[in-house]
């Protein structure tokens, strides 16, 4: 791995983490973090789409007019997600039953567009691919951390497996099941992360 690649990964995962640092991609995706298994599905979708979109936008970067570049990016994202969605629905409907509901969440996830806009629009394809991968993983890191708290607190399970001796100590914390629970968790996580890495000013 070259020095440059390492930098991109470090920035995407920690230094410029898209969720707690750039405050992107928190929209409806937060709703799914009450179960770890759903979170993993969502993360996979985002990593995949972010990488693919970044490469495409990067290839087209010299041709996209400035005025319409955001909309061009949304169009590219939506098309990719819809094509993959249709293919999965045709080839394996059983898997599609699980991941179908994520499609809308992935398209409206501004993290993908945010990276296309901030990075891929100015950089060659290879670094853009790495950046999409790194930011997708950085996003996954945060979501998985939230899910690791919400699922045990809300359901008393982890990946669907009941926690040991939960009858003795566990009581369902309904707020952790509901989307507001995700906001509080994310706020706490942002707090911790920003305190540790120094609170430099960023604009979302």
């Amino acid at each position: 791995m070259s020095v440059r690649a390492r930098d991109i990964f470090k920035a995407g995962l920690i230094g410029d983490n898209p969720v707690y640092r750039q405050v992107l991609g928190i929209c409806s995706a937060l709703a799914v973090t009450n179960l770890l298994a759903n979170t993993l599905f969502m993360c996979f979708g985002v990593v995949f789409t972010a990488t693919l979109t970044n490469v495409t936008v990067s290839l087209l970067r010299r041709h996209i007019p400035k005025r319409v570049r955001m909309i061009a990016q949304v169009l590219i994202i939506a098309s990719y997600v819809m094509m993959v969605d249709t293919l999965i629905r045709a080839l394996n409907p059983d898997i599609h039953r699980f991941i179908g509901p994520y499609v809308g969440l992935i398209i409206t996830n501004c993290i993908i567009m945010g990276r296309a806009e901030a990075f891929a629009a100015q950089n060659p394809p290879w670094p853009s691919l790495l950046d999409g991968l790194a930011c997708g993983l950085g996003y996954s890191l945060v979501l998985i951390a939230i899910a690791l708290v919400r699922e045990p607190m809300g359901f008393g399970t982890l990946l669907g497996i009941p926690l040991p001796a939960r009858e003795l100590w566990w009581h369902s914390w309904t707020i952790m099941l509901m989307p507001p629970g995700a906001f509080f968790m994310l706020a706490i996580l942002t707090w911790i992360a920003r305190s540790r890495t120094g609170a430099k000013e960023t604009s979302a």
Binding site: C27, S28, M70, C110, M178, F183, F184, R194, A204
Partner: protein, 202 residues
Amino acid sequence: MTPDPHSVPFLSLLLVFVSAAFTDNILLVRFLGLCPCLGVSKKVDASVGLGLAVTFVTACTAVLNYWVYRYLLIPLDIVYLRLIVFIVVIAAFVQLVEMVVERLSERLYQALGIFLPLITVNCAILGTALFMIARPYNATQAFVFGLGSGFGWLVAITLIGGIREKIDEKHVPPGLRGPGLTLIVIGIMSLAFVVFSGMIKL
């Protein structure tokens, strides 16, 4: 209840509006359009500005998308392309507004200009278009639904902006300043809006 497509009593329009604005608040209940909200809600006047622009665009594109869906996509049997078409309609509309405003009023353009790029990517607008076609609305109801949705977003972002202005961030731990605090505010507010659900049944 399925509304009769030919007569639209005022009360039913009011119900569509109130339910879109409050019980189904797009920002606090459905969590769409959060990212621009986090970025802009620092001050009340900026919040109101963006909110008004979003309301305008949402209402107009809702009815535009309704016509496109009804008279173009369904007859041509290309409903599966709706997402792409809606995105293009919204983008084209925003571009058009930008050009018109630019020629008509320099001051309005200055005030609106910074918000326009934020609008095309606001997923609340796209979300409204998609919800609209999933419901048995006619053109008038679609417009009112868009208006209500946008208004709900405006109310939510203004409230958040107001609360953020009141909180003196000097007394907040540095790591929590900005987004962290806003997330907590939104979390508490969305809990309050959960209570609205079930108030109106459509």
